[in-house]
C-alpha cells in the first residue's frame, strides 16, 4: 500500500491519499495543474515536504535510489541514452513483458533507439520499467502516443502486472473513459488541491 501524507511542493498541497495494494488510482486535471509534479514528488525527484510510506515503511528508510527503484515513475516522454534498445535493459531475458507488448522478442533488443517510433519508445519505456519489478507504478499518461490497438495492449499489461504483483498504481491521464476502465477510484487535481472524482 502507498500512503501519501501531507505532501506539499512549490505551492501545492498539503496532499493526502493512499492506494491499496493491487488497486489503481486515476488522477486527472488540466495540463499544468501539477499532476506530473505530484508524481515526481512521490518518486522523490523534486524537493518537497511531507511523507510517503510504502507498505508502512517510511521513504526516508530507503536510499533515494532504492526508493525510486521500488516506486517506479514512467515519465510521459521517455529518454534513451545508449544506441541500442537492449543496453537500457538489465541482464536477462524479458520475453513475457516484451511479447505481451507486441514486440518480436528475438529482435527488439538489437534495435537502434534512433529508429524507434514515438509509440514504440513509449511501450519499450514501460517494458524497461516493468522488468525491474517495481513495487509501485506511477504512470504519467502511459498511452499518450499510442494507437487504439497499442493502448489496449498497454492497459492489459499494466492491469496484469498490478493484479499479479499486487502493486498500487497511480495512473495520470486525460481520457476520462480510459480512467473508468483502468482505475478503481479517481482524484482530480484542481486549484492545487486534490478532490475526489468518483
Amino acid at each position: 500500500m502507498l500512503q501519501v501524507e501531507h505532501l506539499s511542493f512549490l505551492d501545492w498541497g498539503p496532499l493526502n491519499f493512499s492506494v491499496e495494494a493491487g488497486q489503481c488510482l486515476g488522477l486527472s486535471g488540466d495540463s499544468g495543474s501539477g499532476k506530473s509534479l505530484l508524481l515526481r514528488a512521490i518518486a522523490d525527484l523534486d524537493i518537497h515536504e511531507g511523507d510517503v510510506f510504502l507498505h508502512g515503511k517510511r521513504r526516508d528508510d530507503y536510499s533515494g535510489a532504492s526508493w525510486r527503484g521500488n516506486v517506479a515513475l514512467l515519465a510521459s516522454e521517455s529518454r534513451w541514452w545508449f544506441e541500442s534498445v537492449g543496453a537500457h535493459f538489465p541482464e536477462g531475458i524479458h520475453e513475457s513483458v516484451l511479447s505481451k507488448l507486441g514486440f518480436p522478442v528475438s529482435e527488439v533488443m538489437g534495435w537502434e533507439v534512433s529508429r524507434l517510433s514515438a509509440g514504440e519508445k513509449q511501450r519499450l519505456a514501460l517494458a524497461r520499467l516493468l522488468v525491474r519489478g517495481p513495487d509501485v507504478l506511477l504512470l504519467d499518461e502511459p498511452t499518450a502516443n499510442l494507437d487504439p490497438g497499442a493502448t489496449a495492449l498497454v492497459e492489459e499489461v499494466i492491469s496484469g502486472y498490478r493484479e499479479e504483483q499486487k502493486v498500487p498504481v497511480v495512473w495520470v491521464g486525460h481520457d476520462g473513459e480510459q480512467l473508468r476502465r483502468v482505475a478503481n477510484t479517481a482524484l482530480r487535481m484542481h486549484g492545487k488541491k486534490l478532490e475526489r472524482s468518483w
Binding site: L45, A65, R68, G69, A72, L74, A75, W80
Partner: protein
C-alpha cells in the same frame, strides 16, 4: 656560454607584431582587438612584476615567503577555474572545488617532485619550487577548468536523461557516470596530445627557455621530461578529485538531481 641580453626596445619590436595583429583584427571587426591588447599588456606587467618578486624571493630564501607566494598562485588559479565555468556551482563550492583539487594535486605532486626527484637542498628552494609549482598549477588549472565545465554543461543539457536514469533506480553516481568519463577524457586529452608530440612538433616552453638561456640541451631535456610527467600526474589527479566532487554536488542526499545548485551567470568568453 653567455646569454645574449634582451634590451627593452628589442622586446618592443616583438610587441609591434602584436599591435599589428590587434590593428588587423580591429579592421576585420573581430571584436577581440582590445582583449588581445589588454591581455598582452597584463602578461608584460605580470611577468615584469614576478621577475622582481622572484629576484627578492631568491635573495631572501625564506620558507614562509615561498609558502605565501605558492598560496597566492593557488588562489589566483582557483579564481581562474571558477571564472572559466559557464555554469558555476553556487556558494563556496564554485571556487572551493577547483581550488582544493588543485591544492591537493599540484602541491602534493610538486612536493613529491622537489623532495623525492630533484632533491634540492633545502627542498623548498624557491629557484626550483616556484617554477615547478607554476608549471603544474598552470596546466592543472586548464585541465580542471575544462573538465568541470564539460561536466556541468553536459549535465545541464542532459538533465532529462539523468533523471530518466534516476527513475529507473540508478544512483546519482551511476546516472552521471558517462558524463564523468567524458569530462575526464576531455580534460586529459590536451595533456596526452601534447606529450605525444613533445619534441617532434613543439619544443616545450620551459626547455626552449633553458636552451636559450645557455643550458646544455640534455639537462634541459631531463627537466622537461620530469615536468611533463609531473604535469600529467597533477592534471590527472586534480581532475579526478574536482570532477568527483562536482558530480557529487549535482545530487543531494536523496540522490535528486539538483541543477538549482548551478548558476548560469558565468562568463562564456573573456
Amino acid at each position: 656560454m653567455n646569454i645574449i641580453e634582451l634590451e627593452v626596445w628589442e622586446i618592443c619590436l616583438a610587441g609591434a607584431l602584436v599591435v599589428a595583429l590587434a590593428a588587423s583584427t580591429f579592421l576585420a571587426r573581430l571584436g577581440i582587438a582590445s582583449s588581445l591588447l589588454v591581455s598582452a599588456f597584463r602578461m608584460v606587467l605580470q611577468l615584469s612584476l614576478i621577475g622582481l618578486v622572484l629576484r627578492e624571493l631568491f635573495a631572501a630564501s625564506q620558507p614562509w615567503l615561498v609558502g605565501v607566494i605558492a598560496l597566492v598562485m593557488l588562489l589566483v588559479a582557483g579564481r581562474e577555474v571558477s571564472a572559466r565555468q559557464k555554469y558555476r556551482l553556487r556558494g563556496i563550492w564554485g571556487y572551493g572545488i577547483g581550488t582544493s583539487a588543485m591544492f591537493v594535486s599540484s602541491f602534493a605532486v610538486s612536493i613529491f617532485g622537489l623532495a623525492a626527484v630533484i632533491r634540492a637542498d633545502p627542498w623548498w628552494d624557491p629557484r626550483y619550487a616556484i617554477p615547478v609549482l607554476g608549471m603544474l598549477l598552470g596546466n592543472t588549472m586548464t585541465a580542471v577548468a575544462l573538465s568541470i565545465d564539460r561536466l556541468t554543461v553536459s549535465a545541464w543539457q542532459g538533465r532529462e536523461v539523468i533523471e530518466a536514469r534516476l527513475m529507473l533506480g540508478e544512483t546519482g553516481r551511476e546516472a552521471v557516470s558517462d558524463l564523468v568519463r567524458e569530462a575526464l577524457r576531455s580534460g586529459l586529452m590536451p595533456v596526452i596530445n601534447s606529450m605525444a608530440v613533445a619534441g617532434l612538433v613543439s619544443l616545450p616552453g620551459m626547455m626552449t627557455g633553458q636552451i636559450l638561456a645557455g643550458n646544455p640541451p640534455d639537462d634541459a631535456v631531463r627537466y622537461q621530461i620530469l615536468i611533463w610527467l609531473l604535469i600529467a600526474a597533477g592534471c590527472g589527479f586534480g581532475m579526478l578529485i574536482a570532477v568527483r566532487m562536482a558530480a557529487g554536488r549535482l545530487f543531494d542526499e536523496r540522490d535528486r538531481l539538483r541543477l538549482d545548485r548551478l548558476t548560469d551567470a558565468g562568463r562564456s568568453s573573456r
